[in-house]
Symmetry: none
Subunit: 405 residues, 2 copies
């Protein structure tokens, strides 16, 4: 029988001992009979994202979990920030991290963040998203003054300098080409920046801000140009028809770059109020027509960033409850459950602590782990890097071609 592969990435799953949980991690403190049953029937261990001790983002970690080497394909934060804000970037797109900023009449950047509080950033972003001379400019707002710009067109190069002067009291910089190939890109960006200065200066949003004594968001500072990488299609690399189910645009964007079929579930919000049972049910259903399904559940990471161990424990219990639906399918499916990194509630940021991982499926070895958590999985002595996960799933489902004879 052709075995299927089901990979659950519980975002930010790993944690550290928490005083509010009597020194246990949220995962240890959670009632998790289904995760424990899965690990008991297979292998439990620790997974290090990318390499031991590295503090990874969700982007580098998911690339690596899918078997792509971030060293080779992670071309800077620009494209991934843009995907995180919901722009579905395409290979070859040039992307920037951007700030809304305040420019004085004399052309000096007097506030690199335009006062930080910019509820108008969404409508401003729409006004400065347009096509000019066959090149498409897409701006999407982020939190506070943050935004991303994606430039799509022919003959574009990421080898250009920032327009962001990186300090206040100076004018915005002209974008300069850093290689011969990049002259066209620099020219069209400078023309675009001139055009949007007019639009932003005269927009009702900024006039209103000025009338209320707030700094206008009348400049878009660009930095960190990067080209969206062309990934070898997942289906071609592994000979598997793959799909992706995620509630947050960063992971959807990476799935899109890998050529995964993007599944939608209306209740998948990417927040702690997501429809856990519905999402897992949808993933299991998708195995009818796909060989591989990646599911990202964002909620544990949110609770980690909020520094709320009780919330993190609770969302893990909801995930465990939803996982009951996969207990029965391991006869013809290799299941892997892990995280993309740790987000300890005690530090509220990503950490380099390894993440528990389990593999479960019919006929495979067991290594005696009975509890799915950071400590129990560590005792097994089984550890691996995120880049090994696809290889392990392929070999456990007897799909890997032999290296040698």
């Amino acid at each position: 029988m052709m075995k299927k592969l089901l990979l659950f990435v519980l975002d930010g799953l790993g944690d550290r001992p928490n005083p509010m949980l009597n020194g246990e991690t949220p995962l240890q403190a959670a009632y998790r009979p289904n995760l424990n049953a899965l690990v008991s029937s297979g292998l439990g261990g620790l997974m290090y994202p990318v390499r031991k001790g590295l503090v990874c983002g969700s982007d580098t970690s998911h690339l690596s979990l899918l078997g792509y080497d971030p060293e080779a394909v992670y071309t800077g934060r620009g494209p991934f920030e843009a995907m995180g804000l919901g722009i579905i970037a395409e290979p070859g797109d040039i992307a920037f991290r951007a700030n809304f900023a305040t420019r004085s009449r004399e052309g000096i950047i007097v506030d690199r963040r335009a006062g930080r509080d910019i509820p108008e950033s969404g409508s401003l972003s729409k006004k400065i998203s347009f096509t000019m001379k066959g090149t498409q400019f897409i701006v999407r707002e982020g939190v506070e003054h943050r935004a991303a710009l994606v430039v799509r067109g022919k003959g574009l190069s990421p080898e250009i300098s920032d327009s962001d002067p990186h300090e206040q009291g100076r004018p915005a910089m002209k974008v300069k080409p850093l290689s011969n190939d990049a002259e066209h890109t620099a020219d069209i960006l400078n023309e675009y920046l001139d055009r949007i200065r007019d639009i932003l200066d005269t927009s009702p949003e900024n006039m209103d801000r000025e009338s209320r004594g707030k700094p206008p968001a009348n400049e878009l500072l660009l930095r960190g140009a990067g080209i969206t990488p062309r990934l070898e299609p997942f289906n071609k690399r592994y000979g598997l028809n793959g799909a992706c189910l995620a509630g947050i645009p960063l992971i959807t964007g990476i799935g899109n770059l890998a050529g995964l079929h993007l599944l939608k579930h209306p209740g998948a919000t990417g927040r702690v109020d997501t429809d856990y049972r519905g999402k897992v049910r949808e993933a299991v259903r998708a195995l009818d027509v796909h060989d591989f399904v990646l599911v990202n559940i964002k909620a544990p990471d949110i609770a980690g960033h909020d520094g709320d161990p009780l919330l993190k424990r609770d969302v893990i219990e909801k995930i465990d409850d939803a996982m009951g639906q996969v207990i029965g399918i391991s006869d013809d499916t290799v299941i892997c459950v892990t995280g993309d990194h740790s987000t300890p509630c005690t530090t509220k940021e990503h950490s380099g602590d390894p993440v528990p991982i389990l593999f479960s499926g019919n006929g495979m070895r067991r290594n005696g782990v009975r509890h799915f958590d950071e400590v129990s999985c560590g005792y097994s002595g089984f550890d691996l890097l995120s880049g090994d996960v696809m290889t392990m799933m392929l070999q456990l489902s007897d799909k890997l071609e032999k290296y040698g004879a």
Copy 2:
């Protein structure tokens, strides 16, 4: 005292839980007091061939166990298939995987496998093995229609195309040079193929086949040209006088490429009826004149490919019995016992599951493993890659030069 190194590779040793053995692996189910005594007196762990999860062949794994990087020296299957069929390939030899096929009078390949059943392939192979214009052509038959061709001479290049059209209904292809250096190689191969077409067409074996209504084996289709790699001699690399004792030609061939002295033991058959005690005795004896001895015992792999867990358990018990002879020699010898890959009886093919490994010797640390099997060795948390094994044996025998000052 100058310590000796003794490396036992139990081919295809690793396995998965088997329902016929109450969910144990054949190794777990075997009575193995000597293997358990060896691991109890030293280190037990898991060894991943080449890298985690990879499904390795015996060729890539043995190269790696001897410390050669397969990525650098594994030049395609041709040379290793040829060695597997018993041709002792030399560095620089060009080798092909080959099929006996059936060519119609019009020159069309009408059966790429000449009916598969070719008991005459041995005598035909001899007839088409000869020297022409200073270049030696060596054909050796394999199972059914399979064979290998080794071409030995001056100025040869592997940069040539296949003669195999890879589908029926088309003529065999002319061999074409794929680089400027390869013109001579393509020319002499095309001349060789023309010459053997005459020989095969008029051979009594094929006339007899035709008279019995069987498709004649009158064409040799070549594919996957590879050059036999030149390995840095083992003795030079490690400063050790090394030897190899194996019952199967693939491992003998690799030992030959590494410059190991090839030991012979008449009872070493490479089958499950091999003389286990005699082979181990011969290896121990060889330590009188050699610093390092590699012993390959093929039987567990055969039982795995046969899907016979009881047989696999039984051959492991015979190996354990023979191992009694090495219990006493660990005062001046570092012993390592492992496999080259797993061959689970449940799948009858190689898998990427790690293989148990033990190191035993006087004065070294123990890590508390009491039983030599896939599960007990995993609990220790000690794991390594096949490429680390020589380094470990060298350091445990106090032979490794300091890295730094």
